[in-house]
Symmetry: C2
Subunit: 443 residues, 2 copies
Amino acid sequence: MTAPRTIGIGILGLGTVGQGVWKHLTEKKADLEARLGVRIDLRGASVRNLRKRRAVRIPSSRLTSDPHAIVDDPKVHVVCELIGGTTRARELTLRALRLGKVVVSANKALLCEHGPEIFRAVRRHGGQFLFEASVAGGIPIIKAIREGLVANRFELIVGILNGTCNHILTRMGEDGLSFADALKEAQELGFAEADPTLDVDGIDAWHKASILAWLAHGKWAPRNRTLVEGIRKIGPADIDFARRFGFALKHLAVVRRDFRQNWMTVGVYPALVPNRDILARVSGVNNGITLKGDVVGATTLAGRGAGGDATASAVIGDIVDAIAALTGAAPQGLSAEALAAREKSGRALRMADEEEIVAPFYLRLSLLDQAGVSEGVYRVFSRHKVSIARVIQYEHPNQGRGTVTLSTYPVNERRMAAVVRGLKGLRTVLEEPVVLRIFSPES
Amino acid sequence: MTAPRTIGIGILGLGTVGQGVWKHLTEKKADLEARLGVRIDLRGASVRNLRKRRAVRIPSSRLTSDPHAIVDDPKVHVVCELIGGTTRARELTLRALRLGKVVVSANKALLCEHGPEIFRAVRRHGGQFLFEASVAGGIPIIKAIREGLVANRFELIVGILNGTCNHILTRMGEDGLSFADALKEAQELGFAEADPTLDVDGIDAWHKASILAWLAHGKWAPRNRTLVEGIRKIGPADIDFARRFGFALKHLAVVRRDFRQNWMTVGVYPALVPNRDILARVSGVNNGITLKGDVVGATTLAGRGAGGDATASAVIGDIVDAIAALTGAAPQGLSAEALAAREKSGRALRMADEEEIVAPFYLRLSLLDQAGVSEGVYRVFSRHKVSIARVIQYEHPNQGRGTVTLSTYPVNERRMAAVVRGLKGLRTVLEEPVVLRIFSPES
């Protein structure tokens, strides 16, 4: 087969994930085409209800109520199965694979229940089945296991794989809510379904854990040999014990492998995690996974484990991999054209000016210990319209000097430099001020 | 060119990383060959001193003191440049690229200082230059930016990229050491060089930050337009302020991009990070990076940022990518043969028995409030030889009952099940005991 230079994409199902894929793939199309050196043709999507109003505007000519029209379209090379469930989804996935196509899927239940059948079809007909989006939303965990960390065998994979449980446990543990109230809140915020069983009883996390176990170890864990527990039983005394002894309560999926004895375990259950562990800091609806590899040691990936956009990010990642494989495009988008395009866009980019870089600041000042000193210092800040958030003043009376540490509200670099120059001009400021930035990726 | 079925690998330099690559590639060779459907030929390594004793045993017939013998060997398709520096390394890298070969590199200084020249050679001669190992050791951050999160534009990349600085700041912040003592300790532990300048003054982190900025945005940040600060100035008052107001002191590399104004900033400096941020939990010699993508939101990767084995993991990941590209092997190792091999090894794998699964446990018991109750409970534990670590007892005298929460030392599932059965058999245990596992990925 000669490598096609136009790749057709078809989408089955336009829920939040399907709409996210359509939207972001359309927005990034030109960039991805330049990077891959191919044309991307977003051919259409199948939906149940053609008339339904959707947040993402899609021309009606691109919509069909017949998923076979998408799957069978000879110009569609990559089929994104985003309808969910295991009946229709299974039939359509197998149909696409039998046509030798690539199927990109976010469907964890389908993979868990019909994995062997799906991969038999892949083997027989030369297609591909890609499923980054099926576990941990936008976190590229499948790719990390399969590619980036390919040198490793994994003795342990442990993850927070259900955002609903994690949100509930975070609210219970950090804010003292009861399970019932935290669940109700999660439902109101759209983080939990009206029937929360799949999430709070551990079924969703169990699906994801089995996929990770199969991926790392090649075996589908039988349901009756694995522990699947939810979080309904967690109560205030458990939260209290955890807090007193430095633990966070987390709903974990744990896959252990013993390479000498050649066994594995898969379990999904609430557990106490020491606060020092990075997973204890994965809070709210986020997911996080720690992989313990024999070469690399413990590596953790964390981020948004669900939601239309995060999951769309994973689907698009798989689509791009599929395109590279189908067209023989340079791996990692490093074709000569892609490099030239990068250089060109790099040339148009400028470095920010000092006014454009903004952060809250921290300062440490060494001050002469005499009346009126603080006032002079604060006058410098107010002259440059910089507001102070917090102050600690330390006195060292025997040394005739004091230390002041303080933080500011956000201010740009140029203004802060002016403040520092002003402070250095004061006779009462004894040493070079220490200036640090306060930084939060969340801000 | 027809796809070769045997891929020759050559290594330049056998320091800790080079030895790690040789060792792990040799150990995993059969597995990788099955996965990729090709033969891997580890042809040889060049060293400065042929007589030097090394931790990894390599037949002397595979060693040469002439790196050109490796680079020019027509059977070597992939050259791993692990000698470091920018003179010899540059010459050898360009020589290999001009022969159209793949160069896998851990050399951040080389890429920073000669990136444009290197990629010009890639473009002109059709080779590849792969550099996962140059940033953040074993953490697959380059692949995440380039592939897994390819749907995203990154408005923010913020990372702890220097393990030496992070170890020093962790010891100062958590254990009260002075900068001098923490540095001395890091040197004794082998985490810092005798001359620590490159690390503690921020040069190493700056190299890595520029690579990430270039990768994400296509522009090499000029050194004179970026802020590069080290950690020498951090003192006890700074640590005190941070602790009181809920911050951790971290040495950060920050790459910001404003897509509307089309600017970027690159900065490397110590900063206060709120404890709630996951980066505040990246401690010791670990590295961690948060990527804020427009589609996926904030995604964090953390793990070992340096060391021979972790870096070797990244080098081998790149080698496998190179092999897949050179041979047209199925992406992600999903060839029909690879799938069959996985299935076979999966069939040989068994699920663990209950005695093989071990953890410390937590229990919550609801007890009748009368004399001698606790004694009966503890007798059940000691009968099964399960040691108790911590206990909290709550009395609810008006209800005629109390609650006991406790944790155990590690015990296997079968023994714990026996304890729970024993407890349930007591007349004084009023409800189904709540049983949770205590889990630490670090343990």
